[in-house]
């Protein structure tokens, strides 16, 4: 593996790792606030236990997200000094605001986690809500910075010189809204399904059923609403990408040839050499329709662009396929959920229904990671779209391969420990968090 590929892999790995925890930090506080609100309104002790149980999970995941985020703020420079040297002053605005948002999040979390029975109960509740709001704000701001790499604006570029810099304009670039919307919804889908699935599993195991049922409904309702909204946001994103980054759109679809009635390609095996996709399902005209609103107007194919500007096509295409197929699957599960809520209440406690959610535990996160692969790999070979190539930004220091190995080992072990800790938290629900459980112990450390 050469150093350039190692640097890209390390960056991908760090971001892919961090994003899971960042999403949890955005979404879980909202779930906690809902449960906490129900406790304060109804006095139902189960909701109090649930809020506490979730907050322990959040503390574990938030700490992991905080340290991996700290690392990323250094890693941008460690791996891509050529990029940061020029981009820092242009796209740094959202990062400086994100610093504030994240700081507030950390302070509010301190209040929330350690504030039981210490403050006015509604002040305490509000600090929990603030964790969620600042978490969402952080996420949106960071995505705005990424969007700038896809849609650079707020400066003039001429012969390697960046002038006339306007950081506010850079922050409010053309891509930030569609990307941020898609990301926020994705965070709710991924985290919501993961959480709902875990609680569904516990219901299936017949453990602390009432406790887990409450948890399941909060998480599943949020997740399913978000999953049904996501295709709309996806359509906005796709139209936006088609306009700003036609190469990326063509790569997502492995669409090689410009032709009227451009087909929407599902699945298949990409043959980059011969510019074709084998064994795919092709829906003629559908791509034209999705991009232009009519079935006839051709969509520009990959062979219209210079070869040195093309991203890795197969990876982008497969990642896109994974994302949309899982997205559709989660939509179907969501529809089933709402049918069960409104018409068929008996489904809610039947094993097949719960198993469906257990099956969906990883799906949202897989779709989310695949989506980031589409965005990031699809932007290659550029780090700043049509301005700077990724290979010109990489650090001159040799030996990045070793750093990649070290961080891979670190991230794998951290993931294993986090899963292990969450498993132990789940195992202790009866003793620690469910007051209706015969094993429940009052006044323990947790």
């Amino acid at each position: 593996m050469d150093d350039f590929i190692a640097a890209r892999s390390q960056m991908a790995l760090s971001l892919g790792f961090h994003i899971i925890f960042a999403c949890v930090g955005m979404v879980m506080p909202i779930f906690m606030a809902i449960s906490h609100y129900k406790y304060l309104k109804t006095g139902d002790e189960l909701y109090k236990g649930l809020t506490k149980a979730w907050s322990k999970g959040v503390a574990i995941l938030f700490a992991t997200g905080a340290v991996s985020g700290t690392m990323l703020s250094f890693e941008l420079g460690l791996l891509w000094p050529g990029f940061m040297k020029h981009a820092g002053p242009i796209f740094g605005m959202p990062f400086s605001l994100e610093g504030t948002a994240f700081f507030i999040e950390a302070i509010a979390l301190g209040f929330f986690l350690y504030g039981w029975n210490r403050f006015n109960k509604w002040f305490h509740w509000a600090t929990g809500v603030l964790v969620g709001i600042s978490g969402l704000a952080s996420g949106i701001l960071v995505v705005a910075a990424n969007a700038w790499m896809n849609s650079p604006s707020g400066f003039d570029y001429h012969d390697g010189v960046y002038s006339n810099i306007d950081p506010i304009k850079a922050m409010l670039n053309d891509a930030w809204f569609s990307q941020a919307l898609h990301m926020v919804l994705a965070a709710f889908v991924a985290t919501g399904f993961a959480v709902a699935g875990v609680h569904a599993l516990m219901i299936l195991k017949n453990k602390n059923i009432e406790f887990h049922r409450r948890a399941f409904f909060i998480a599943a309702t949020c997740a399913c609403i978000a999953a049904l909204l996501q295709p709309i946001s996806g359509d906005i994103s796709a139209k936006d990408v088609a306009k700003r980054q036609p190469i990326k759109l063509a790569a997502m679809e492995a669409h090689f040839h410009t032709e009227p009635y451009s087909p929407f390609i599902i699945g298949g095996i990409v043959d980059e050499e011969n510019q074709k996709v084998d064994y795919a399902i092709k829906l003629p005209g559908v791509l034209s329709f999705l991009v232009h609103g009519d079935f006839e107007t051709p969509v520009k194919g990959l062979n219209e662009f210079p070869k040195e500007n093309l991203p890795p096509i197969a990876i982008t295409h497969y990642a896109f396929q994974i994302m949309i197929s899982l997205g559709m699957l989660l939509c179907l599960i969501s529809l089933t959920y709402f049918i069960a809520i409104w018409k068929k209440n008996s489904w809610l406690s039947s094993p097949w229904f719960l198993k469906l959610f257990v099956f969906a535990i990883p799906l949202g996160y897989i779709a989310l990671e695949a989506g980031w692969v589409v965005t990031e790999v699809g932007r290659q070979p550029w780090i700043i779209y049509e301005i700077m190539r990724t290979k010109d930004a990489v650090t001159p220091m040799p030996g990045i391969v070793y750093s990649f190995y070290i961080f891979t080992a670190v991230f794998i072990s951290l993931s294993l420990i986090v899963v292990f800790l969450l498993y132990r938290q789940m195992k202790m629900v009866g003793k620690l968090y469910d007051p209706t459980d015969p094993h429940f112990k009052h006044n323990v450390k947790h």
């Binding site: 460690l78 605005m93 990062f95 400086s96 301190g110 220091m397 670190v410 800790l421 195992k427």
Partner: protein, 334 residues
């Protein structure tokens, strides 16, 4: 507006040094605490830093964001030539934060605690060591932009006796800050006296490692002595710091924990003033008499302005909230 940004950079570094330093220090204290007191120390530590440690480490992020938005050339130069110690420091940050959280939030109390403790303690030692080492490399003229072979460009840029001695000095300061910080959180006056004895020991460790820094600086031809004693501001800083030591020892006998805290915070302040004032506005001193100045390497005017506003606006939200957090979880209010 440039001065607003520079002031924020300096203050963030200072706050990181005292708050983050105290935070690392509690891990160092654990290593050097005997079996008899370890449980008490751990309990006190947890109570005093549990709610605030994440906020303490935000200052590092603020400083780094200021650097890459406002002074990108300086940021990218450090990133290239100090890559290795930065990575080692980051590994420390990751290991430490997670181990600290995991050991408290593991729902089952078993032998895993030993693993978390070990990781927490070791990383509490190496992280401030590399922070000090990195800081030393920015003034030791060991970074040479014209070197291209691996060892001289990426290793000898930071690996030298002066850097190592500053690393050790930073670890000592962290432990010293922590030992004073937790005195105020002690549960009993007997434990308080124990912690005071420890704090005195750490004070002398800081003193000794400080002398070592001067010696290594002398052999590396770094005019550290001259920077600090050769000009009025430095001399004033030394005199004031010395006075505060007298006040500190008085506070030890009277068991006045708030005054102790103010004294160490002040001493650290003076150390940072003395270390940075002399070569301001140069942030990084390079080999061949080159340097990177905050004035020559600032981002565009509009960027600096926007950054300054973001920082000012941010502090309006953050500072009152942060003070309330620190205040609420102080021992007397719990």
């Amino acid at each position: 507006m440039l001065y607003v940004v520079i002031a924020f950079l300096w203050v963030s570094l200072y706050l990181y040094l005292i708050l983050g330093g105290a935070d690392f220090g509690v891990g160092v204290l654990e290593i050097f605490t005997g079996k008899k007191h370890i449980q008490k120390v751990k309990r006190t530590t947890y109570r005093s830093i549990g709610p605030i440690w994440e906020a303490n480490h935000m200052w590092l992020i603020i400083a780094i964001v200021i650097l890459f938005v406002g002074f990108p050339t300086i940021y990218s130069t450090i990133s290239i030539y100090l890559h290795i110690p930065l990575v080692l420091m980051l590994l420390g940050v990751i290991a430490r934060g997670t181990a600290f959280t995991f050991r408290h939030y593991d729902a089952i109390d078993d032998d895993w605690q030993i693993v978390y403790n070990r990781i927490f303690q070791i990383s509490s030692l190496i992280t401030p060591f590399f922070l000090g080492l990195i800081a030393a490399s920015t003034v030791s003229r060991s970074i040479n932009l014209h070197n291209t072979d691996f060892l001289s460009a990426y290793v000898y840029s930071w690996w030298n006796p002066f850097g190592i001695s500053v690393g050790v000095f930073t670890v000592a300061i962290s432990a010293y800050l922590a030992s004073i910080y937790i005195i105020g959180e002690a549960e009993s006056s007997e434990f308080m006296r124990y912690l005071t004895r420890r704090a005195k020991v750490y004070f002398f460790v800081v003193l000794l490692s400080g002398i070592a820094v001067f010696i290594t600086a002398h052999f590396a031809d770094i005019p550290l002595f001259n920077w600090i004693f050769g000009q009025t501001i430095g001399q004033i800083a030394v005199v004031l710091a010395t006075l505060s030591i007298i006040v500190l020892f008085w506070a030890f006998t009277k068991e006045k924990s708030t005054i102790m805290r103010i004294c160490v915070a002040f001493q650290t302040f003076m150390i940072l003033v003395a270390a940075t004032y002399n070569h301001f506005p140069d942030l990084i001193l390079l080999a061949n008499e080159e340097s990177l100045s905050l004035f020559d390497h600032q981002g565009s005017e509009k960027t600096i302005e926007a950054l300054a506003w973001a920082l000012l606006l941010g502090s309006v939200f953050i500072l009152p909230f942060l003070f309330y957090l620190l205040y609420s979880f102080h021992r007397k209010n719990t």
